[in-house]
């Protein structure tokens, strides 16, 4: 530790002032000389063969520069794991909202007008909207090379499941379903792209993985990744939905063809129709327990709705299949999962990455089990909780695990014991827990980890170069804190270089709750390297043994108290090295393992845990639900910035509340989205979200930067089942499919009353 001690301080976001004063430049703010605007013709049909596209009338609109169709795209398809997508539809459209043509014009209005004049002749095909029906023999196929519409599958077996069920005291079997929900970030997806006369493409866009995205974009455009440079402006949120989004590549396709800057910004309804919403998953979950409530065996069957194309959903289904098994110490597990194509928007990553879906199922069922065998729902969780030092059935090793402490803190601060089961008929309290990863080795075969550079310039300013993107969550602030701490340097003098793929090193980007753990570790190592280099150079110049030098508050301090400013050191070094800055390099590789063919292997270097308690009030006349209190406790190893960490949890809980109670993308029978706007797709306002109490359990993860683990995704996961469980505590009805609407509650209450009346009659 140095004198600065900036770790653990409540430091406002490094970019807060830029943002609140409206000066921060987002992608949609960018305007370039000679810039053209694109507007997309989207399919009205959910499944059809394209017979003919007539662009003649649209071309005649004054101001239209070009109209691109599938014929302008490479014949090879692109994707992240499964290559099934094309920038513009070729031969077939597979969901209503799919990109069919791109009009480029001198302004947006002209482009939109021309879009309306394109005539497409389609031959309609049978549509499949339900994944279970899509798997049946004879169902209409979306992709001819995927029989039964199965895009991906998971099969896992550990221990002796059948024997464990045989020896179980009780076995529970339930079905659960999660809904299709949208990330609903404030800034819709957009991009500006340009191409120079040598065919080098530059994209300015809010992308969660700006460096990594070049691989998929290169494939989509039929060029090599070196031809693509991505510059990330400020970003208005992503929550998983802006992992290599398709739109910037489509924008680049036009810029590449026309050699002019082109801008496309999606409307909110386009965002809903063709974004990458959460993968809805249906579960059949069978769990066997001992008399004491110890979980002996778990068998799960999952069907995930992939939508029309595979973005990250295969990795999401894999995550959904087995990450939850790290929450409790379960020795016997069998899991089967299918990811199935349907004629709907391609689904993909949304905060939690499949883990949230499965937690809703398991954390609901654990509650049902606790009530049935008469154990406090908090206690059954503590009894089964993963302990530090444990290696689970999938080979995951938990160096630190503060789940028990999270449960204890969350229940104590919410008055759990006094409230549980006391407000029947109206008020209720419920708990949900979670485990997650801090980066995931399984996502990328090549490597996991991160790299960074930290440099000292001639003015004594420290600049951090990392390709791990700040998408609004605060990575820049965390990186600046880490660099400042390591160098004993004032926070205000640390700058974070904006992500520009031509100057930062390779980085997978922001997903899998990676930024602080792997990105922060890399910045720490780079800062350590710079510190060493500064001391080496200063020792050499001052002719003092470097062990007698200290680096603190922008100064080198000698043992006898002489000070030498970093600005001067930076300047001198630069002059001595013909312009070269003192630069520290660092990288971090977690001690995780790429899973083997049976998915065995420790996928992450550190596992964060959490517990949320929700309190609700249910109106039994209307079924209305009000969440009246939320308590969130997370084991994040060490809190680098409590202000930012609390914000993550508050935001996660609000988003999870929306998922639990309000949000749902609904399709009609023709596969058209019925609610592609915020009027009909409702996210919670501040009036729907109660005050919350957030706190942390610090387990000091040895592999984390200053002991830190991940938080971004865990923040949303436990609250959704906690709310479902609180509703059960309040009125004794259990809703197993999201969202939990007043209508479902009222129906269940009436059925329950009817059942009771029937029983009394008998």
């Amino acid at each position: 530790m140095t004198a600065e001690n900036i770790i653990g301080k409540r430091i406002p976001s490094i970019d807060a002032q830029e943002k609140v004063t409206g000066r921060a430049v987002f992608g949609s703010d960018l305007v370039f000389p000679g810039m053209l605007y694109g507007s997309i013709l989207r399919s009205r049909l959910a499944h059809a063969r394209i017979v003919h596209i007539d662009i003649a009338r649209a071309q005649r609109v004054p101001g239209v520069i070009d109209i691109l169709t599938g014929a302008d795209c490479p014949t090879e398809r692109f994707g992240t794991f499964i290559f099934d997508e094309s920038l513009l539809a070729r031969e077939k459209v597979r969901f209503a909202g799919e990109e069919v043509a791109l009009v480029v014009a001198i302004d947006r209005e002209t482009a939109m007008e021309a879009v309306g004049l394109i005539e497409v002749k389609y031959e309609e095909l049978l549509i499949v909207l339900n994944p279970e029906q899509a798997m049946l023999p004879g169902a209409s196929l979306l992709h001819e090379n995927h029989a039964q519409n199965i895009a991906y599958e998971v099969h896992l077996e550990r221990g002796d499941v059948d024997a464990a069920f045989k020896s179980s005291y009780r076995i529970y079997e339930h079905e659960f379903a999660t809904s299709m929900v949208h990330q609903s970030y404030l800034e819709t997806t957009g991009a500006v792209a340009d191409a120079d006369s040598n065919g080098r493409i530059t994209i300015w866009a809010g992308i969660q993985n700006p460096v990594g995205a070049r691989w998929a974009y290169a494939q989509a455009l039929g060029v090599t990744p070196d031809r693509i440079r991505i510059i990330q402006p400020y970003m208005g949120g992503g929550f998983g939905g802006k992992l290599e989004p398709k739109l910037p590549a489509l924008c680049a396709l036009a810029a590449f063809k026309l050699r002019r800057p082109v801008k496309i910004v999606q409307s909110r309804s386009e965002e809903f129709m063709a974004g990458s919403p959460r993968v809805p998953i249906k579960y059949r979950l069978k769990t066997g327990v001992s008399k004491e409530g110890r979980i002996l065996a778990k068998e799960a069957y999952l069907i995930g709705d992939n939508g029309a194309y595979t973005r990250w959903a295969s990795a999401i289904l894999s995550t959904a299949a087995y990450r939850v098994d790290a929450l409790y110490e379960i020795p016997n597990i069998r899991t089967t999962g299918y990811l199935v194509y349907t004629n709907k928007a391609p689904t993909s990553a949304f905060r939690g990455f499949g883990n949230g879906q499965t937690h809703f199922a398991l954390e609901s069922q654990i509650d049902m089990i606790a009530h049935d065998i008469g154990i406090d729902p908090a206690e059954i969780r503590t009894l089964n909780a993963t302990r530090p030092g444990h290696t689970n059935v999938h080979g995951w090793f938990f160096r630190t695990a503060g789940l028990k402490e999270c449960i204890q803190k969350a229940t104590e601060s919410s008055g759990w014991k006094e409230k549980l089961g006391q407000g029947r008929g109206k008020k209720g309290i419920g708990i949900g827990c979670c485990v997650h990863v801090s980066s995931n080795r399984a996502y990328k075969k090549e490597f996991d980890g991160a790299a960074a550079m930290v440099r000292l310039d001639e003015s004594g300013i420290i600049e951090v170069y990392s390709g791990e993107a700040d998408i609004g969550q605060g990575a820049r602030t965390i990186f600046a804190q880490v660099a400042a701490e390591e160098l004993g340097f004032p926070f205000e003098k640390v700058r974070i270089h904006a992500v520009d793929t031509s100057s930062v090193q390779f980085a997978w980007g922001t997903f899998g709750s990676r930024a602080t753990y792997v990105g922060g570790n890399a910045v720490k190592k780079a800062a350590e390297d710079l510190r060493r280099k500064v001391l080496d150079y200063a020792g050499e110049k001052l002719n003092i043994d470097k062990s007698e030098l200290n680096l603190r508050g922008s100064f080198i301090i000698t043992k006898d108290g002489k000070q030498w400013g970093l600005a001067e050191i930076g300047f001198n070094y630069m002059c001595d090295h013909a312009g070269s800055y003192l630069t520290g390099f660092g990288h971090f590789i977690p001690d995780s393992a790429y899973p083997d063919e049976n998915r065995y292997g420790n996928v992450s270097g550190a596992y964060p845990f959490g517990a949320h308690v929700a309190e609700v009030e249910v109106d039994t006349a209307t079924g209305e639900i009000r969440v009246t209190n939320m308590v969130g406790v997370h084991d994040i190893g060490r809190t680098i910035n409590p202000l930012l960490a609390e914000g993550q949890v508050e935001g996660g809980m609000a988003q999870g509340l929306g998922w639990a109670l309000l949000e749902n993308m609904v399709y009609d029978e023709q596969g058209r989205l019925k609610n592609p706007q915020f009027l009909d797709y409702q996210i919670p306002t501040m009036m729907d979200v109660p005050d919350s109490q957030v706190s942390f359990v610090e387990t000091n993860e040895p592999s984390g930067p200053y002991g830190a683990k991940a938080l971004g995704e865990p923040a949303i996961i436990p609250i959704t089942p906690a709310i479902a469980n609180a509703i059960y505590d309040a009125v004794g009805v259990r809703i197993t499919d999201l969202p939990i609407t007043p209508e479902k509650i009222l129906r269940a209450l009436k059925e329950k009353k009817g059942d009771k009346a029937k029983r009394e009659e008998l």
Binding site: M112, Q682, D688, L746
Partner: protein
Amino acid sequence: MKSFSYLEPAALQEALELLKNNKGKIKVLAGGTDFLVQYKEGRYNPDMVMSLRGFSALQGITIGLAEIRVGAMTTIAQVEQSEVITRYLPALGLAAGMIGSVQVRNRATIGGNLCNAAPSADTAPILIAYGAKATIVGQTGARVIALENFFKGPGQTALLPDELLTEVTIPIPPGNSATSYLKKSRRQTMDIATVGVAVHVWVSPEINRIDNARIVLGAVGPYPFRARQAEGLLLHNLPGSELFKQAAQRAGEEARPINDVRASAWYRREVVQVLTEWALDDVFMERLGIKLRN
């Protein structure tokens, strides 16, 4: 999105002439909170858009001997905050405050809310309950109709293509009356009604017999309408919880809801019953201070 000509007449007469000379081609713009969204979504492609913001004659709330007049261009925020409304028509002020967001209420107008004719419009049920009348002006002069006859279907009103709604007139309710508007929506604020119920009742002094009753249902039919059978059950009876239950049940039966993304028809009927009963409890017990019989 198609371009249109924008018209901003300086006086009512000019606006009416423009309407007459361009019959059916003009979309009238009040606050724009509904129109602009629908235009951007491509639901309207008018040749001409005529704003009524150019003249102030249609704005403001005035009180007469027996009635209150609200100009069609009066904003929802003005209705919500008006002292006259708060004093004489409190349930209208509360209903106005349930519309959209602060920003929307600052722009949206009462005339716009009515002419947009959404089945869920929050000011419509309560105005009908208060017995409001609509003043409609055309080239040939003005006509006045009961607001309950103003709505013809979703987005459809009694206005002819060359007419404008200029004013809403609401009789000042007698002292022995009370009103209530209850709304249920999916979230607490910034949402349109899943169900809205307005109730207005008069009682005989001292004996508390129900002399008149209006129950108006919103968002459960093609337009807001009166549950006349439920009203009939109340009439000439003494207020009592059993009576209210019966009336509420009848109102539920009279509702003509549809299934949509907000709720099913079944749920809407259930909520009509609940809100009708609550609104009756509210007007008699809370507002008139009458103790109910069983």
